[in-house]
Amino acid sequence: MAKIIVVTSGKGGVGKTTTSAAIGTGLALRGFKTVIVDFDVGLRNLDLIMGCERRVVYDFVNLINGDSNLNQTLIKDKRSDNLYILPASQTRDKDALTQEGVEKVLEELKQTFDYIVCDSPAGIEKGAHLAMYFADEAVVVTNPEVSSVRDSDRMLGLLSSKSRRAESGEKIKEHLLLTRYNPARVENGEMLSVSDVEDILSIPLLGVIPESQAVLKASNQGVPVIMDEQSDAGQAYGDAVDRLLGEEKPHRFLEAQKKSLLQRLFGGR
């Protein structure tokens, strides 16, 4: 049975698209047939993060309107045979997405895919609403920062009231993913800690992604950061995908790297 996972946050710029790309790719690399759907109509960016921006021909809105079929619209990822991308429309506005249209496309995707990862736009308007409405599980991406935590809490409220599952008396399974975490600043008391954010939002922790140079490097190249297995962020995303699949793994990268005396003297990293 196909599972629909929405990656959402309320606030913009916290790492939703980075996370959608990483989780989708991670699921595909573990053998699950996965499609990542970009719901950010008008501001599509998933194609850039996935490095397939020049292969977009048709988009989500074309598919809804029946201008194209699923085969023509889905872009197959070059790195994994299990991975497909459904790009958002760049020219239309949010109203081009309708609840019936989205439902029809998702039902069709469910026939062939194990996982459907929905990359939500920022905000709580139509695009974000439709991205989460049909979800079975939600990954709430949060930065350890006041406005992001507050928006995540607002989003959690919407997940438990304005989704199809909520309307039929079921619950969306919620996961907290803390991104751009800087353990050194947490130790200095300058940043909310993992447990602070867990205390406030009180949902299960899926993972902690450290603030990392690898994320920008990966997006520069159009490669999902999870493919960079040498990097802290790549490994942290890998762990998060394993936990999403039910594995129990200890959380890593929560402590600041201690610099040796020599590193301090010469400014090495």
């Binding site: 935590v149 809490d153 607002r154 409220g157 200095n188 008391g189 300058e190 909310l192 800690s193």
Partner: protein, 86 residues
């Protein structure tokens, strides 16, 4: 600042993270409270204001409607401050 203070400050930096946590706990609790209120509450408030303004000139801000849930019983609390008599 004396030399002594300098060392004491370094040992105990004022934690902005704990301020953030405190502020968040308050605002999030407040917003969750509002969230659990039914959708009709603002409309109810508006209609109450409309009815009262037919008879008395009142200020919008002087009407407070709140719904409290205690165990299996809900209390609708209505608080209207009438203007002072001239």
């Amino acid at each position: 600042m004396s030399l002594f203070d300098y060392f004491r400050d370094r040992k105990k930096p004022a934690s902005t993270a704990s301020m953030a946590k405190e502020r968040l706990q308050i605002i999030v609790a407040h917003e969750r409270g509002q969230r659990s209120q039914p959708d009709y509450l603002p409309r109810l408030q508006q209609e109450i204001i409309d009815v009262i303004s037919k008879y008395v000139k009142i200020d919008r801000d002087q009407v407070h409607v709140a719904l409290d849930n205690q165990d299996d019983c809900s209390i609708l609390e209505l608080n209207i401050t009438l203007p002072e008599r001239l």
